[in-house]
Subunit: 330 residues, 2 copies
Amino acid sequence: MASIKDVAKEAGVSVTTVSRVMNNRGYLSKEVRKKVEKAIEVLDYHPNQIARALQKNQSFFIGIIVPDSNHPFFSDLIKYVEISANEQNYKLLICNSLEDPQKEAHYISMLRQNQVDGIIMCSHTMNIESYQKVDLPIVSFDRFIAAHIPCVGSDNYRGGELATEHLIQLGCKRLLHISGPLDLDVLSNRRRDAFVITCMKHGLDYDIIEGAHNKLTFDYFWSFITENLSPDKLRTYDGIFCSNDIAAYALFIYAEQQGIRVPEQLRIIGYDYHSFTRMLQNPKLTTIMQPSERIGKTLTNTLIQMIEHKSGELINNITVDVTLIQGDTT
Amino acid sequence: MASIKDVAKEAGVSVTTVSRVMNNRGYLSKEVRKKVEKAIEVLDYHPNQIARALQKNQSFFIGIIVPDSNHPFFSDLIKYVEISANEQNYKLLICNSLEDPQKEAHYISMLRQNQVDGIIMCSHTMNIESYQKVDLPIVSFDRFIAAHIPCVGSDNYRGGELATEHLIQLGCKRLLHISGPLDLDVLSNRRRDAFVITCMKHGLDYDIIEGAHNKLTFDYFWSFITENLSPDKLRTYDGIFCSNDIAAYALFIYAEQQGIRVPEQLRIIGYDYHSFTRMLQNPKLTTIMQPSERIGKTLTNTLIQMIEHKSGELINNITVDVTLIQGDTT
């Protein structure tokens, strides 16, 4: 492989000059620049970024740890993180924790050993203390970890409020919320809080059933719903807010099988509006959109700001707006 | 951050001994090993893998270039590539070409500069010559590039044959194939070839309509189908084989809107059986499964074999079996 010396020789200039061209530093005539660029092309020269990383103590790698890169929400998020990182010259390493605390710890250690400049943390199975020990810039998605670790998420409380108000405005009186696990302190629990407060405000009765950890698939929600909601019990509700779209879809299919008409007899609203929901035509789900493109870009930009200590300003937690998407299920 | 010297001091052994423990080389008593492991833990020592990469001339990074990491097929594939790479101690860098040849070239150059050990190439917009120049191990998904670049894919011909035979056995007489772009020499074109040959073998008439490049979304296939298949024309067919599930789903929704009953009046079969299709309940698509888990693992293992020159054996092209999944649309 060609080295920087070969390039200098080919262009008839010094190694320092080649380096100045490549780093775009110092005064250089157009002519010299062209000669060097030509030599780089002719020799098919690729600077060794790993060696530069070691020298500069910056690798331009960032890591992202997700529960499952194949889940439609995280798959959306990864795409926008990658595009936005690439625009700023950073490369993205992806890690699937599969919601296993040991795997999560292994990945954090691996990322540190590989000198990533920072980590976007979207999997939350470890204790808060374990993250606090990591001496690297971290941005967290949807969980408060520590004062020096900014958190980016959608406005979960507002989303829960929008969803519940929507059902109530349509005349629902017997409400149910199907939530994720509530024992972990993650921001998506605010959806439940908003559901409770909004029902109370309107003097309405409500129920909550709570899903388990590590479970994001259709098959899980199908078993969960069919086991926890007998057809008779299901008929006692006229409005159900699901904390994610996959649960809402499983619920819709179940209600249909029981001969319950949606939305006439039962209104269903989900949460996410990720790529799966966008493609789904039958039904088009009514749901709350978490804008994955904006969240992905914000996670990336916040992390890069921290890495580059841009102006040493305070880095704050960031909340991204949510929107109600009207579909056919309410 | 702790250095290897600190670990040696803490454990009361030499740096060489620490290095031998970490590389699991040479004879070491259990006692010494325990002392070193304890010191590593106490000091929270993380070896600098970047420095080691530079020394050893191997980074343990591999890159994967896909058209869109968010498309359900590639999102499936990436998950299994990542899991399988991680099991073998390799880290995965992901790149979205968005089917733009310039972006593809940029990513290849970036990956080389970052000393990845090899590349899994799933985006195919450049000329074959451009890949042949890359002096790194490459494995290609679904496209023959060169003799020294192994290609992994599902048995596209067999898949096309299974799909077409299935329609014919069910009594279909007027067949249509909705394909991807056929001008690029990619292996998925074998689905079309098998469709043609199978129709000819049975003496049946057939039509083909051909989709465009760079288009993988539901919205694209929706416009494409509604523009290229008037309701009257659609009624002339009784069996349609779509070269992917998203097109098959769009076609199903369109047929339903036209009052055409599936499968009674029109049978539809797709191709892929990726995470979107698996979650889809209404309809459950009849389709050909490309096993993304097996393809992902095979891509990764083949690349790692090339990187590690295991036994210097010949690395061949690999074809993975496909299966017919019976759903409600045929």
